[in-house]
Symmetry: D2
Subunit: 339 residues, 4 copies
């Protein structure tokens, strides 16, 4: 099939490569032209403007947006006047599903079909394939099946799930799924990322506890501001975190792709000294928590993971000052200096 | 090699089978004799008492305890008088690592070597192999390498970790690891299980949010005790959780063995109606949190996962009553009846 | 001054009484007429419809809405056509401050002034006075100062705050405050209630731990599903919770009005057996957390308090079933029956 | 009565003053002699060694230890050989109640009575009185009633609790309470402090959210690493935190002594610029959480408050690095520099 890709960043460029590898034709556009040049050299048809891209696509067109969430509305505003009824516009980024509802509605008034596709896979998707969660009209999703099948990982050597015998042949086993009407794709992707935050934090906390397992070897101050370590003899272990991550990759309950990546990172740098520990969050974690709160369901773990990222960026500083100020007021406690 | 196995429950019996399959000789004992009979029929040498088991093993003996954590001390008390200096006693269960320190010390005084082996793998370990985290004397661990290698999963088709080139050949890649001196094995297993709790809770919360994605279709009461759902139109999705679990198994960031199991469970019963949601915890999660607190490091996610289990068993009831009592006192609020 | 009060529930009726006690004239309306009859007998001017109420007020009118958050928009829709430019409409309930922004804007177009007044005090406000957090135009707030002063607690015998010497005379010391433009009043009230949830949960958890301080006296099962209590001798205390709440009321760091109420509740019923522990939440806790998330600041305690309420209502059931299902899949663990 | 006080820090010295003001005789000792000199000038009998202090007390003696938790065991070891059967030794500091059990047992063998007295009140206790939670033998507690009554705040003008009519006359209303056998006093004090952490954190988080209420005025970057603020128009408030703390002191649900202190701190310095936000924890918060975990009850709020202190001291750094490392591995995400 033919597809227009807008946005050739880490994700978009590799998706084009995977599509071309699967025999599809890609017309590509990017705000900065270098990425267009690069992909043109690899066989894509370059476009130097949105209008050029639209002109180079046969109708009904299929266009895939792969731009930052904050830029999607502007991209749609720029594109919509150029499109014709029957065209399909896909947002493959990390949009808030609530925005999908609004956009699908607005585009529908012009006869344009809108799909929201949550796309997971990161920078390794070119080789592994992309896991896609799709929202929109069933017949439009079906029409683009060849695109999704090429981008998806396929069954590979992952063993089939017992109990799914009567569901064999569904696309979920190939790594893409029509989740429901508009917004459904990004809703599922949102929760996917919310879970991702929780999983990552679980590993991170665990490895931190392993790393601190030797604190019994250190000297500790004895004063009213410091809790003495009651049993230093219980914390005398110098663990090799890279080897522990590695051993868990085989046969343990906590084996996962995120653990594989952690093993790689710890092997490359056991102290992770390239990082400062200032962790971004790109929206889905927040929206997942907001959905839980709207629903009135507890999401302690996903929220704790989100807040840990906020704290990592120093956002708790003022509240910590309040604590120190209270302690000074009632107990005359002075802060201990950083050491 | 020859090994005596004490405790033939879910884990122990299958470990014997895997060992025999690897050419080792097993003498087996269990409190209730049926399991001994079963394994004898499969080639093990049965023992009808601890003394019988000890007598049937060549010295220096290797004995592996696979009994509940609460029964380990009694088992050691029963066994120790029967053993000789040079014998090796392995605790392969889920003991608290602090107990290992005490036990190793006591047994060392009698010349008996003690190993603590955290063993992960569950009921699928027979086929997949067991991931083992080992604490104790290096030379004793080395002597039992053939045992560990047979029990472990081996490299299988799991791709090697980039960056480990200079660590190739270490046992971590086969799924077992000498983690350090006594207690180290169970410390690492403890944290493994703590992480496991966190991972499980992350998935559980995420799937609950997906399940509640249709609450906008329900009617809601309008009164001062109930927060109205501001945007019912945002919660109109009927998701197929089994398909979502399945699609995430391929190419997504949240792929893991626990997700594979969740996909199986949801395929077998989308409502999970065989379960009531009363979740046990078997110790390691608690000990992990206690270690974090002793170390003074935050473990929000692992702790939230632990507390969710406590709450699932109704342990928050009195504190919830306090909240209701306060609300009644200051606001005259009556509890809403369960519906 | 003259004021029209709409909504004569727990809060509204007592506010009318306090206003009349302060020499103000109140015209009152309520959906069900009994409350109007009652207050008329106490000196208020009853109205049998919104139109009647509006007709009985001199222009420019001052109207105070004291209705559930979910009913405010309809009340405003009903009232607005009856009002004249220059009239003042106050929402004294627990509205979401975001709604205030919209309402103030819409009413402003008709020349109607809108104030949002977060009102704390509960059923004891008649005697204690009401703490008011006010948002809206400064001159309108100033014009209604006599109303606020009467409703507020006043300085009473609460000692002045050291360090406020240059702020003496501000209304904050009387218990009411113009917090900022529209929405500011409800924003501050929202955070007030968010904090309230956190404080309540802190006490509730603490008293639960005190209540469980005798669990070492109970028998415990020994099996692989249950963590043994390592030190039953540490949990042999039968505490008198009512006396503990009482002793903390004097001189302790945790003294507060909420503690006073807890002491009352525990004195009346040490087991709180009139309550089942199903705790409502009325919106502000959720909005506080959503504000924190929008701001990107961590609010672990306020969120944990909110989620505890969700869990108290059984909203975690499905996620707990997922945990049980996973445990069954990997470990063959069966749920323990409720006892 | 006559009492020997050991440890004349912030708490001990003022307790001596309050005791002398109530007509008691105090013999005082401190490691550094300046405090002894100061109090001698105010009427206390100074001692220049523990032996001197013991010699100056009539038998049976009453000795009160007011030293850091980490120094109690050494103090007892030094004192015990100097004491006689029948003497009473009080630990008034913040000891772990588990240590009380051990100490009481050891001293009991020598005929020495031991009391554990959790003492709240901080640096303001001299004027306000000290709230005391007492564990030990009933008759010993009764014998020292005059001491406790003097130290305690007394009824003051705090209104009696409704529902306690049949408990009038108990000491809880004076601000001291015999909570149970040894350890009970410090257990209750431990939970008191655990609650204190939770209350403090609730206020701190709330004030932080108020402080960030103007972030909609700031410019925000638009990139894939930053979640855009969806509604900057909702965050345009410049709140006066000191006035808000003040207004809540009167009539609101969140009024408390900790709020009074917060109002003072914010009045003195609205930005709290004397503090860096590095918050100590002195043990009781940790022990409270450990008790909850041993009991198997959830304490989400108290634990979140504890962890926030750990994080304030940078203890989450390594786990945050793990998160960044994972994000780099799967998404090629680079950390954003601190701004």
């Amino acid at each position: 099939m033919q597809l227009g890709m807008i946005g050739l960043g880490r994700m978009g460029a590799n998706m084009v490569r995977r599509l071309m590898g699967g025999g599809h034709t890609c017309v590509v556009y990017n705000r900065s032209p270098e990425a267009v040049t690069t992909l043109s050299a690899e066989g894509a048809i370059g476009a130097d403007s949105l209008a050029d891209l639209v002109a180079k696509l046969e109708t009904p067109r299929t266009l895939w947006l792969m731009v930052p969430a904050a830029a999607v509305d502007q991209s749609i505003a720029d594109l919509a006047p150029l499109l014709d009824p029957g065209d399909i516009l896909i947002d493959g980024g990390n949009s808030y599903y609530v925005d999908d509802l609004r956009r699908a509605n607005a585009l529908s008034a012009k006869g344009i079909h809108y799909l929201d596709v949550g796309t997971s896979g990161g920078i390794r998707g070119l080789e592994r394939g992309y896991c896609m969660m799709i929202g929109g009209e069933r017949e439009i999703v079906a029409r683009l099946d060849p695109i999704f099948k090429t981008l998806a990982p396929g069954r590979g050597d992952i063993p089939p799930t017992p109990g799914r015998e009567d569901r064999r042949g569904r696309t979920a086993e190939d790594g893409y799924l029509h989740c429901g009407p508009n917004g459904a794709g990004h809703f599922v992707k949102m929760v996917h990322n919310g879970i991702e935050y929780g999983l990552m934090a679980a590993y991170a906390e665990g490895f931190n506890i392993l790393k601190q397992a030797n604190i019994g070897k250190a000297e500790h101050a004895v004063d009213a501001e410091t809790t003495p370590l009651r049993h230093p003899e219980h914390f005398q272990y110098d663990f090799d975190l890279a080897d522990i991550a590695e051993v868990w990759r085989r046969g343990s309950v906590v084996a996962s792709w995120l653990l594989d990546l952690t093993a790689t990172a710890l092997s490359e740098s056991p102290e992770l000294s390239d990082f400062s520990g200032r962790v971004s969050d790109s929206g889905e974690g927040r929206w997942t928590v907001q959905a839980a709160i709207d629903q009135g369901v507890p999401a302690e773990v996903l929220t704790a993971a989100l807040y840990a990222r906020f704290s990592s960026r120093g956002e708790a500083e003022f509240q910590n000052k309040i604590l120190s100020a209270m302690r000074f007021q009632f107990g005359g406690h002075h802060e201990k200096p950083r050491t």
